[in-house]
């Protein structure tokens, strides 16, 4: 069984996103970038399955400009066997539907039985690509998983899904796509020898134009603004008495 792990390079999640007023886009010039944290969890899970002997190969895929190769190298350094880089040449505003179509091509070419990916990227927060990919391929889907167990015959997997009402357990027939949630595992760090070794692992480049997919944006960003979180008064109180009396004056008790 081959496992494909689509991964994304994003602004480091602990860095504050800033808007470039001129371009009306989030400014990523000289910003610290990292692998999307959910993708790290996906890589870790794929590696664990490979180490258990249930998979023959793990393949990381990423789509973007040349810099995306750094993120693929990180995956290789963590232990992934090989990488596929889809080169977009310039900074295209690729959306989940585009990504799903490109990934569907790669999954079919590789005849992968299992696709493990993050449930969302922490930049656009769409939470869509895995679901779209599953629809395009008509594969079974387990979103938001916190537990993954392959069956002994390798034909299905049992997953626990973190949903609003609690934890749902389902059995997915393979081929399947799973999108991972935070509590699935703790991703490993790449060791220095493995970082060195990653440099000689296979990395294939494919031009995005070779897929013959219309990548013009369906949903265009008109403007962005930093209205997100605003500071408030932070009035100090010293006791339960004072706090409760403030709250009743505010009419929220």
């Amino acid at each position: 069984m081959k496992i494909v792990i689509p991964i994304k390079r994003v602004l480091d999640p602990y860095t504050q996103a800033r808007v470039n007023k001129q371009t009306q886009l989030v400014d990523l010039t000289n910003a610290k970038m990292a692998m999307n944290p959910f993708c790290e969890i996906a890589v870790e899970e794929a590696l664990k399955i490979k180490e258990s002997g249930a998979a023959i190969e793990t393949i990381a895929v990423s789509i973007g400009t040349e810099k995306t190769i750094d993120t693929l190298r990180t995956a290789l350094a963590m232990g992934v066997d090989r990488a596929i880089f889809v080169n977009t040449e310039s900074d295209l505003d690729l959306q989940p539907l585009h990504l799903g179509k490109i990934l569907a091509n790669i999954v079919k070419r590789e005849e992968a039985q299992l696709i493990i990916m993050g449930k969302q990227a922490v930049d656009n927060d769409n939470n869509q690509t895995g679901q779209i990919l599953s629809g395009l391929l008509d594969y079974s889907l387990g979103t938001f998983i916190s537990k993954f167990q392959l069956s002994d015959d390798g034909k299905s997997a049992e997953v626990c899904r973190e949903i609003d009402s609690g934890i749902e357990t389902r059995k997915l027939n393979l081929p399947a796509i799973v999108t991972v949630d935070l509590r699935l595992n703790e991703p490993r760090y790449a060791s220095l020898p493995n970082i060195m070794k990653a440099r000689s692992k296979p990395l294939e480049s494919i031009e995005i134009s070779s897929f013959d997919i219309d990548v013009s944006p369906r949903v265009k960003v008109i403007s962005v603004d930093e209205s997100g979180t605003k500071d408030r008064a932070s009035k100090q109180v010293q006791s339960a008495e004072e706090l409760l009396s403030e709250l009743s004056q505010l009419g929220v008790l």
Binding site: Q131, I132, S165, E226, A233, S234, K235
Partner: protein, 308 residues
């Protein structure tokens, strides 16, 4: 320009996030119908009494109990043929199904809409809500999930026509095994007027009971930071934040939560924010209307002992 609302049921009750989707749809269309997938057609009754809804399209089949996303998305895509818009309230239910419907209809869905600017222009959060983006869709059909905290929840009082759709139910590729539901007597987190939320600072599952005690006293729901959930103090469905639930209660009382941007993303629109923490420099304090800098356990004991 008609709109279809994909209704999420909790048992036989219409979820509050579906009610927010109905309100959002009124800004897009005069003719709003509802779609409900259920194992029992009797559940359509609560949908038919919703205000604003014209017709309730019901796909009822015993096979739809804990339906797989593959089956659900095929049925929704078929039911969508006459509509310009499909809206659903943001939840794990709609986030599971809607993008897959998008794949079947060749449409790019829009997640977590917070504001409707025009028939094809919407505002949605990026980067955990630190950035708000105005986006314009060029698709002929528009699919979106809407934030339940950004729109009023529509009420009851309507009498919609019920129309049963008899569509063949496709074979599922995944099967339901079990659901471990959290039982709680307290108000539901996403609709509660008051929330008492605990973080890593509480130190243990046993200490988290102090949060529960205070929540009961204030008739509040319980929330938690990711750190508290990861540490096993409380289960995942109480997590507030970028990857958990988004809430906007009248009162959000945060105890021992430092305030990572991922947590702030889930509660920043609360009307009154109170922080009890022993670290006055934590980011959470800047977000607060009221700050009580104190030992958490002393403060919680004092609050729990104080009469209201």
């Amino acid at each position: 320009m008609s709109a279809l609302i994909l209704i999420e049921l909790n048992g036989s009750e219409v979820s509050s996030n579906s009610r927010a989707a109905i309100t959002a749809a009124t800004q897009l269309s005069d003719k709003i119908d509802a779609l409900v997938l259920t194992d029992d057609s009797a559940n359509a009754a609560s949908v038919a009494s919703l205000d604003i809804i014209n017709t309730v399209k019901v796909i009822a089949d015993s096979k739809l109990e804990h339906v797989s996303v593959g089956v659900a998305s095929k049925l929704v895509a078929e039911a969508m043929s006459d509509y310009k818009y499909l809206l659903s309230g943001s939840s794990t239910y709609s986030k599971n199904i809607l993008p897959r419907v998008g794949a079947l209809l060749d449409v790019q869905p829009i997640s977590d809409v917070c504001e409707i600017k025009s028939h094809n222009t919407f505002v949605r959060p990026l980067y955990a809500g630190n950035i708000m983006a105005t986006v314009e869709s060029s698709d002929d059909t528009i699919l979106m999930t809407v934030r339940a905290t950004a729109f009023e929840h529509s009420g009851d009082g309507g009498s919609a026509t019920i129309e049963e759709l008899s569509l063949p139910i496709p074979e599922p590729k995944s099967n339901f095994i079990s659901l471990q539901e959290s039982q709680s007597e307290r108000p539901e987190l996403t609709t509660a007027d008051r929330i008492v939320s605990g973080g890593r600072g509480l130190g243990s599952k046993e200490n988290f009971a102090l949060i529960e005690q205070l929540a009961d006293k204030l008739d509040a729901a319980i929330g938690a930071s990711r750190a508290a959930v990861d540490a096993g103090f409380i289960s995942n469905d109480y997590q507030v934040g970028q990857t958990g639930k988004v809430v906007a209660p009248k009162l959000y009382l945060a105890v021992g939560i430092s305030g990572a941007i991922q947590h702030l993303a889930g509660m920043k629109d609360s009307q009154v924010i109170v922080v009890i923490n022993n670290d006055p420099d934590a980011p959470m304090a800047r977000m607060a209307d009221l700050v009580w800098e104190a030992d958490l356990f002393g403060a919680l004991k004092e609050l729990n002992d104080h009469s209201l």
